[in-house]
């Protein structure tokens, strides 16, 4: 039952529109600083573009996808009209307002501070206020997801919460709590300075606050993808979820261990004690667990589909899979990129290995592969799967959809593999210009050129994606039927209360945040002399 289709479509369309713009900026960035671009002699323009690209891709785009998908899940999994539709629209308009408010100073070059804010660099206050509005808009969504689940529970006492909704609400709680770090940084530290009330800033403390957000936000980006793995893919390819409990445990684990690990982003920072870095590093190792569980469960679910279709043998069943089904293709591509990206992640999380790739192009290669690749390709799949139900029209051109997915996959590999490589060779990230005439880096020109080609393949794929969705708005009408999620091999009849509610896991999440962040934050906040003068962008 999808009653509020307009609401969901509005979220998706805004998400994909800003995505299209940011994608174009990304392609421009990688081109303009490459050996085949002609440098425009103004790094400021590069950083303007980079701020816009990072802010949209990191904050606006995934948040809107999670919200739109969350509303769709709430209505269809709970089979209940969304409670609080007006609030949902209010949240949407807050995000629109916030995005516009943020983009104007960025476009004018008054806030080229990059999406990680980079204190003590300080930009125009409206940039930060815009980001705050985006976050506040998303918090409305968090509240609505929780309220809708509560309403459903009242009407269905003791029944198992549908997996999709259970996971969706877990994701929303994770986001609510992880966004607090950046919110504290903005409200307590950056905005007072940007508004001229203070002239110094504790950059070290600000970075610690940001790390609170920076890791778990990755899992917030990932949630829609994992929900799609578990609750859409098996249904779309004619299989079943191998284990409903395993799925619940994975989402619970994300809730508990995604938060207390963010200091792996501050390994190189002197203001954080080595003991805390070690604890965060050790907990980081644990976060591989839910992903490994997921890979196992999804492979098993896929195998079920293959065997139901007559697949045989130890590996022979793989051939029996519906490879012409876009969902199958997207899943396979996503897993391959997740595999490579995950292997790279093991290097990032090790204190010693990290030093060799810290702040190099390896990092940008890594998160484009995982986020832009493994995660975003499933956003595409979600949109394709939902579109007929939202528009009441069929997406007929499966071949174009497959081409689009192939191009995204190839483009991402061609972009990010050389990107990793030049990072290992030491090429720094966030640089507007490289002099490839310098013998020291001349040999890397070839790798960088490959990345550029990959970037344009990605851009082409992104354009095709938007064209497919736009055409889907005008295709002949066709009733798609109710939107359904995958069934488990053993559909749960009763679920232990711990696996049917979030309270225990939210409590552990908050508890671990206090143990792992409490002392470092207090120590920095209470120490004298840890602030430095702010550096204003375009000040004189």
């Amino acid at each position: 039952m999808l009653a509020n289709r307009k609401l969901i479509l509005a979220h998706f369309w805004l998400a994909f529109a800003v995505f299209g713009i940011a994608l174009t900026l990304g392609a421009w960035q990688i081109f303009i600083r490459s050996p085949i671009g002609t440098w425009l002699s103004n790094p400021e323009l590069y950083y303007r573009s980079l701020t816009a690209h990072g802010t949209v891709m990191g904050y606006v785009f995934p948040t809107l996808v999670a919200m739109g998908f969350g509303y769709a899940i709430s209505e269809s999994a709970l089979e209940q009209r969304l409670v609080g539709v007006r609030w949902a629209w209010a949240g949407f308009w807050l995000i629109v307002t916030g995005s516009i408010m943020a983009v104007i100073p960025v476009a004018l070059g008054r806030a080229s501070v990059l999406y990680t804010f980079y204190p003590p660099l300080i930009g125009n206050v409206f940039y930060y206020l815009g980001v705050v509005l985006v976050v506040v808009g998303s918090w409305i969504w968090v509240a609505l997801m929780s309220i809708n689940l509560r309403v459903w529970r009242k009407a269905h006492p003791g029944e198992p919460v549908p997996l999709a909704m259970f996971a969706n609400v877990a994701g929303s709680y994770l986001w609510a709590w992880t966004a607090v770090g950046a919110a504290l940084e903005l409200l307590l530290q950056i905005i007072p300075v940007a508004a001229g009330l203070k002239a110094t800033i504790d950059a070290g403390l600000a970075r610690v606050f940001f790390s609170w957000t920076l890791h778990a936000i990755v899992y917030f980006w990932l949630m829609p993808t994992y929900i799609a793995y578990y609750t859409i893919v098996p249904r779309a390819i004619g299989g079943r979820v191998y284990s409903d409990s395993m799925a619940r445990i994975s989402f619970i684990l994300f809730l508990v261990v995604a938060m207390p690990i963010g200091m792996h982003h501050t390994f190189a920072d002197p203001q954080v004690g080595a003991g805390f870095k070690f604890i965060h590093s050790a907990f980081t190792a644990l976060v591989a667990l839910p992903t490994l569980l997921t890979v196992f469960t999804i492979c098993a679910s896929v195998e079920i589909a293959a065997r139901l279709r007559g697949g045989r043998g130890l590996f022979g069943w793989i051939r029996a899979l519906p490879w012409d089904n876009p969902m199958m293709l997207a899943l396979a591509f996503s897993f391959v990129m997740l595999g490579f990206g995950g292997a790279g992640g093991l290097i990032n999380m090790s204190y010693q290995l990290d030093t060799s790739i810290h702040n190099t192009q390896w990092i940008t290669g890594h998160f484009h592969l995982i986020f832009g690749g493994a995660i975003v390709i499933m956003y595409f799949a979600i949109a394709y799967d939902l579109w007929p139900h939202l528009t009441g029209r069929e997406l007929t051109n499966l071949r174009l959809i497959r081409t689009q997915l192939w191009l995204w996959f190839i483009g991402m590999i061609v972009t990010t593999f050389p990107w990793h490589w030049v990072g290992i060779l030491g090429m720094p990230r966030r640089m507007a210009y490289f002099d490839f005439g310098d013998p020291a880096i001349a040999p890397q020109a070839l790798s960088v050129t490959f990345s550029v080609i990959g970037g344009f393949i990605l851009l082409a794929s992104g354009i095709i994606f938007i064209v497919i969705l736009a055409r889907g708005m005008r295709a002949p009408q066709a009733e798609a039927g109710p939107y359904r999620f995958a069934m488990a091999v053993h559909q749960p009849i009763t679920v232990p209360v711990a696996l049917n509610t979030h309270a225990l896991w939210v409590a552990l999440m908050i508890g671990l945040t206090l143990t792992n962040y409490g002392y470092p934050i207090l120590n920095l906040a209470l120490s004298e002399g840890t602030s430095v003068p702010a550096v204003y962008v375009g000040a004189q």
């Binding site: 440098w39 050790a282 490289f434 002099d435 470092p520």
Partner: protein, 271 residues
């Protein structure tokens, strides 16, 4: 079952969830705060508590290591973008009177005929910082130091405001305008050098960085060399020393020649 039954020891999920989490936390804490600190043979701790404090990141007056003796004064000036913003007419007037003694070298209009820096229209915060540094000894110069030694805070602020107020005039070194060299607009990323223009104008300006257009080529070259050799060290956090050390002799020449050849009217007006 309701959530109330969840938060009790009778519930196995509660026991296992909380127990495992606490166990992992304790093990990792012991590892990070006790085992690993002592595993570093090159660091000495008085006792376990000492090790824990160190691993927690508590700033310590490390007993075993003495801080390196600071032989020369460093700059203690704190600048913000609002330093000396919006001066009064009286302040500028007082500065004009005081500035008469500076005119021999820096010129009656704030533009030097010798190879002293031009001060007309320079950012107030820049002049303010240099004068404070000359007075404190963080920067020293046989000619300037005696002038600065007896200035009061008020006088330094007035002088800075006066010179900032003067119009930017063309310098006395008319050379054809040179094209921007790489070091000015690109820096040298592989050597960790940011573009000169990202602080000194042309691209962006950061508080405390002077604009350089039309300054004496010989003066700028000498300053870069002094930063590179460490003879001049009043730059906060070694911002300029780190850059100058990594620059080649040729880049120093190019940067100095380029800025000297630029007319000062390309400098963006102060907000």
């Amino acid at each position: 079952m309701s959530t109330r039954d969840l938060f009790t020891l009778h519930n196995s999920h509660f026991r296992i969830g909380v127990g495992l989490t606490a166990a992992i936390l304790i093990v990792t804490a012991i590892g990070g705060f006790i085992v690993l600190p002592f595993a570093q043979p090159w660091v000495q701790f008085a006792n376990v508590w000492d090790a824990i404090c160190s691993a927690a990141g508590l700033p310590q007056r490390a007993a075993s290591v003495t801080a390196p003796e600071q032989t020369r004064r460093l700059s203690e000036v704190v600048l913000t973008s609002n330093t000396l913003a919006r001066p009064s007419q009286e302040a500028i007037g007082r500065g004009a009177t005081l500035a008469q003694r500076c005119a021999i070298c820096h010129g009656p209009t704030g533009v030097s005929r010798a190879d002293s820096p031009n001060l007309a229209g320079q950012y107030a915060a820049v002049i303010y910082k240099e004068l404070l540094d000359f007075r404190s000894g963080a920067r020293s110069n046989a000619v300037m130091t005696p002038f600065a030694t007896n200035l009061t805070d008020q006088e330094i602020a007035d002088l800075s405001n006066y010179y900032a107020y003067l119009p930017r005039l063309p310098a006395y070194h008319p050379t054809p305008q040179l094209p921007k060299p790489n070091i000015v607009i690109y820096g040298a990323p592989m050597r960790g050098i940011a573009p000169c223009g990202s602080c000194h104008g042309s691209l962006d300006n950061k508080a405390g960085s002077p604009w350089l257009e039309g300054q004496s080529e010989a003066y700028m070259k000498a300053q870069l060399q002094a930063f590179a050799s460490g003879e001049r060290r009043n730059d906060i956090s070694q911002q300029m020393r780190n850059i100058a050390r990594a620059m080649t002799a040729q880049e120093i020449e190019q940067a100095a020649a380029y800025y000297a050849s630029q007319p000062p009217d390309v400098v963006k007006a102060v907000d």
